[in-house]
C-alpha cells in the first residue's frame, strides 16, 4: 500500500467527522498558542526590564535610603529617607572613582503656562542627571551647578509636557509656573517613549533638586542617590567606599544593620532579569500543562473513536486493510490533528503576542526555539497519544469488528 493512500484514507476519515476533528484540534491549538504567547510575552518583558534598567546609566550604583527602624516600625526602602544633602556632597567629594552623582527628589505637581496646565512629575535632579541617563537635548541645554547651589527657578521639559503646554512652539526661554512659582525653561529633552510599565517617560519636568526641596517637597533628605563610577572596573570599589562612608556618617556600629542599600546597576539588572526569566518559565510551564491536556484530549477522542468506529474498522479489514494499515491510519489521523492544531496554534500564538505587544507598547519576542519546540512537541504528542488507540484498532479481529453493534 502506498503512503499516499494512507494519507487519503486518514484525511477522508477526519473529514467524515469535522466537528470531532475540530474539537480535538482545539485542545492542541489552545495549548500551543498559550506556550508561544506566554514565552513571547515573558521574553519581551525580560528585554524590556533589561533596557529600562540600562537607562539608569552606565556603570552606575544606586544608593537607596533604607529602612531605618524608627520606633520599631520598619518601612520599605525610601519610606523614611535617611540620605541627606550632606551625605550627597560627601559622596561627591570623598569617594574616589565617582564620576557623577545625582539625588532623587520627586513630586507630582501642576505645571502651567499661559492658560494651559498639566499634571506631571517634577523630578528634582542634579546637574549630572541628564548626563548619567545619557539623555540628549532637542533644544536648549542643561542647568548648571550654580543653578543647583542657588536653588534657582529653572526647568527642563520632557517632550510630552512641552507639547501639552506650548504645542509646536519652542518652550525654551518661556516661563512655566509650578505651584505658582515661575520657572524659566532652559532645555527641551529628546523624546524617550514608553517605559515597560507603560508610563510615558517624556511626561516629566526636571528642576534642580535644591529648588524642588525648598519650594516643592519641603523635605531635607533623598529617596535615593545615583552614582556613576569612572569605569566598570571601579564600580566595586565605589560601592565599598560608599558603604563605609555612609556607615561612618550615619554612625552605624559594626554588626548593626545599615539604614541604606547600595546596589550596582548590574545587580539590579541581574535580579530583575532573573525574576523575569522565572516568570517566563512559570508561564511557559502553565501553558505546557494545557498542551499536555490537549494531548490527552487527542488520546481520549481517538480511544472513543476506535470503539465508535469498530464497524468501520471491520469493513476496512474485510476489504483488505491489514493491521498495519489500520495502525498507520489512526496514527496519521492523530498526527494530522496534533500537527494541524500545532500549526494553527503557532499562528494564533503569534497573533496574541502581536496584540499584547500593541496594547502594552513593548516588543514581544516569539523565539524560533519556542516555535520549533511547540511544533515538535505537538507532533510527539500526536504520535505518543495516538499510538495506543491505533494499536487497539489494528489488533481488532475482522469478524468481531463487523459484528460489533
Amino acid at each position: 500500500m502506498k503512503f499516499s493512500s494512507t494519507w487519503t484514507i486518514a484525511l477522508r476519515a477526519l473529514r467524515r467527522n469535522p466537528m470531532r476533528s475540530g474539537l480535538t484540534m482545539l485542545g492542541i491549538i489552545i495549548g500551543v498558542a498559550a506556550v508561544i504567547a506566554m514565552v513571547a510575552i515573558g521574553t519581551g518583558a525580560k528585554e524590556q526590564v533589561a533596557s529600562s534598567i540600562a537607562q539608569i546609566g552606565q556603570n552606575t550604583v544606586l544608593v537607596m535610603s533604607g529602612s531605618g527602624s524608627r520606633g520599631g516600625v520598619r518601612g520599605g526602602w525610601g519610606s523614611s529617607p535617611t540620605l541627606t544633602r550632606q551625605d550627597y556632597e560627601a559622596i561627591r567629594k570623598e569617594v574616589p572613582g565617582v564620576l557623577r552623582a545625582t539625588p532623587d527628589v520627586r513630586k507630582s505637581a501642576q505645571v502651567m503656562a499661559g492658560n494651559q496646565n498639566v499634571n506631571t512629575e517634577i523630578n528634582g535632579a542634579g546637574e549630572d542627571y541628564v548626563e548619567i541617563r545619557s539623555w540628549d537635548f532637542l533644544e536648549g541645554g542643561n542647568f548648571t551647578a550654580a543653578d543647583v547651589r542657588g536653588a534657582t527657578k529653572v526647568a527642563i521639559l520632557g517632550q510630552t509636557v512641552a507639547t501639552n503646554l506650548f504645542g509646536d512652539a519652542s518652550p525654551v526661554g518661556q516661563i512655566v509656573r509650578i505651584q505658582n512659582a515661575p520657572y524659566t525653561v532652559v532645555g527641551l529633552l529628546k523624546p524617550k517613549g514608553m517605559s515597560m510599565m507603560g508610563s510615558d517617560q517624556d511626561d516629566v519636568v526636571l528642576v534642580p533638586w535644591s529648588s524642588a526641596m525648598v519650594r516643592l517637597t519641603g523635605t531635607t533628605s533623598f529617596r535615593a542617590i545615583t552614582v556613576q563610577a569612572e569605569s566598570a572596573e571601579q564600580v566595586g570599589t565605589v560601592m565599598e567606599e560608599l558603604a563605609s562612608l555612609l556607615r561612618q556618617r550615619h554612625r552605624i556600629r559594626d554588626g548593626a544593620e545599615d539604614d541604606f542599600h547600595v546596589r550596582s546597576q548590574q545587580e539590579i539588572m541581574e535580579m530583575a532579569t532573573s525574576t523575569a526569566k522565572t516568570m517566563t518559565i512559570l508561564l511557559g510551564a502553565i501553558a505546557g500543562v494545557s498542551l499536555l491536556v490537549g494531548g490527552i484530549g487527542i488520546m481520549n477522542i481517538m480511544l472513543v473513536s476506535v470503539t465508535e468506529r469498530t464497524r468501520e474498522i471491520g469493513v476496512r479489514m474485510a476489504v483488505g486493510a491489514r493491521g498495519g494499515d489500520i495502525l498507520l491510519q489512526f496514527l496519521v489521523e492523530a498526527v494530522v490533528l496534533s500537527v494541524g492544531g500545532g500549526l494553527i496554534g503557532i499562528g494564533l500564538g503569534f497573533g496574541i503576542a502581536k496584540v499584547v505587544s500593541a496594547k502594552v507598547g513593548w516588543n514581544t519576542l516569539v523565539s524560533p526555539e519556542s516555535v520549533v519546540l511547540a511544533f515538535v512537541f505537538s507532533a510527539v504528542i500526536g504520535i505518543f497519544f495516538g499510538f495506543y488507540p491505533a494499536r487497539k484498532a489494528s489488533g481488532l479481529d475482522p469478524i468481531e469488528a463487523l459484528r460489533y453493534e
Binding site: 468501520e312 476489504v319 483488505g320 491489514r322 494499515d325
Partner: protein, 251 residues
C-alpha cells in the same frame, strides 16, 4: 467440468469456544466449487451458513480441515497475506451493506483500491470506481452518501465495492435479506449478469425463491451439508423483473 476448483474444502470444522461451552458451528464440510458456478447456500437459522462464508471469505480460520483457494493452501497464510487475498481475489457482500456512512458512494467503492498493493493514482481510482458503479447501474449516484440512497441502491454500491478489484470469487451473505422482493430481483439480476460474464458466486439465502436464480443449491443443517443439487427450474431475473413491471406500469 474438469476446470480446477476455485474453492476446495476438505473436512472443514469450526468450533466456537465461549467460556465452558464449545459450539460446533461447522462439523466437517467438504465442498468443491468450480469457476463459473453460482451456488446458493440454504439452511435454517443457526445451521452454520455465515460461519462457512466467513471461513471461505478468509475473515476467519477453521479449527480443523484444509481450505484451498485457487489451489493455494489458505491455512498457511499469515494474517496480512489473508488481508491481501481478501483485497485482491475476493469480493464480499453483506446483509447489512456495511458501507461507510458520511462517505460518498464513489469513495466507498474506492476503499478496496486504496488498500491494494498496486497503488493506483487518483485518476485511476476514480475511473475504476466509476466503472464499477456503472456496472451496477449507479454511476449517476456517485456523490450520494449512503443515507441518501435506498436499501437496494446501497446494496448495489456494496456490490460495486466488491467488484472494483476484479475478484475471481464473489461471496454474499444474505445480500437480499434486508430488501423487498422487487429490489431483491434487481440484485439477483446483477448477480446473474456477473455470473454470465464468468464470475464465480457463492451466496447465502433463506428464501427458496431467491435460490432459484442460482445454478446450484446447497442445504446445510447443524453444521453439515445435507443436500447438494443443481437448480432445476431456474428463473431469469431480467424476465421476472419485466413481468413484475408489466401489470404495474402497462396501464
Amino acid at each position: 467440468m474438469d476446470a480446477k476448483p476455485v474453492i476446495q474444502l476438505e473436512s472443514i470444522e469450526k468450533v466456537y469456544q465461549t467460556g465452558e461451552v464449545a459450539v460446533k458451528a461447522v462439523r466437517g464440510i467438504s465442498l468443491s466449487v468450480r469457476p463459473g458456478e453460482f451456488v446458493a447456500v440454504m439452511g435454517a437459522s443457526g445451521s452454520g451458513k455465515s460461519t462457512l462464508m466467513n471461513l471461505i471469505g478468509c475473515l476467519d480460520r477453521p479449527t480443523a480441515g484444509r481450505y484451498l483457494l485457487d489451489g493455494e493452501e489458505v491455512g498457511a497464510l499469515t494474517k496480512s497475506e489473508l488481508s491481501r487475498v481478501r483485497n485482491q481475489r475476493l469480493g464480499f457482500v453483506f446483509q447489512g451493506f456495511n458501507l461507510l456512512s458520511r462517505t460518498s458512494a464513489l469513495e466507498n467503492v474506492e476503499l478496496p483500491l486504496l488498500y491494494s498493493p498496486h497503488g493506483h493514482g487518483r485518476h485511476e481510482l476514480r475511473k475504476r470506481s466509476l466503472a464499477a458503479l456503472e456496472q451496477v447501474g449507479l454511476a449517476d449516484r456517485a456523490e450520494h452518501h449512503p443515507s441518501q440512497l435506498s436499501g437496494g441502491q446501497q446494496q448495489r454500491v456494496a456490490i460495486a465495492r466488491a467488484l472494483v478489484n476484479h475478484p475471481s470469487l464473489l461471496l454474499a451473505d444474505e445480500p437480499t435479506g434486508n430488501l423487498d422482493t422487487r429490489t431483491s430481483l434487481e440484485i439477483m439480476g446483477i448477480f446473474q449478469e456477473l455470473n454470465r460474464q464468468g464470475m464465480t458466486i457463492l451466496m447465502v439465502t433463506h428464501e427458496p425463491d431467491i435460490a432459484r436464480y442460482c445454478l446450484r443449491e446447497i442445504t446445510m443443517r447443524d453444521g453439515r451439508i445435507v443436500d447438494d443439487r443443481p437448480v432445476g427450474d431456474r428463473l431469469d431475473a431480467a424476465k421476472e423483473l419485466a413481468r413484475w413491471r408489466g401489470p404495474e406500469e402497462a396501464p
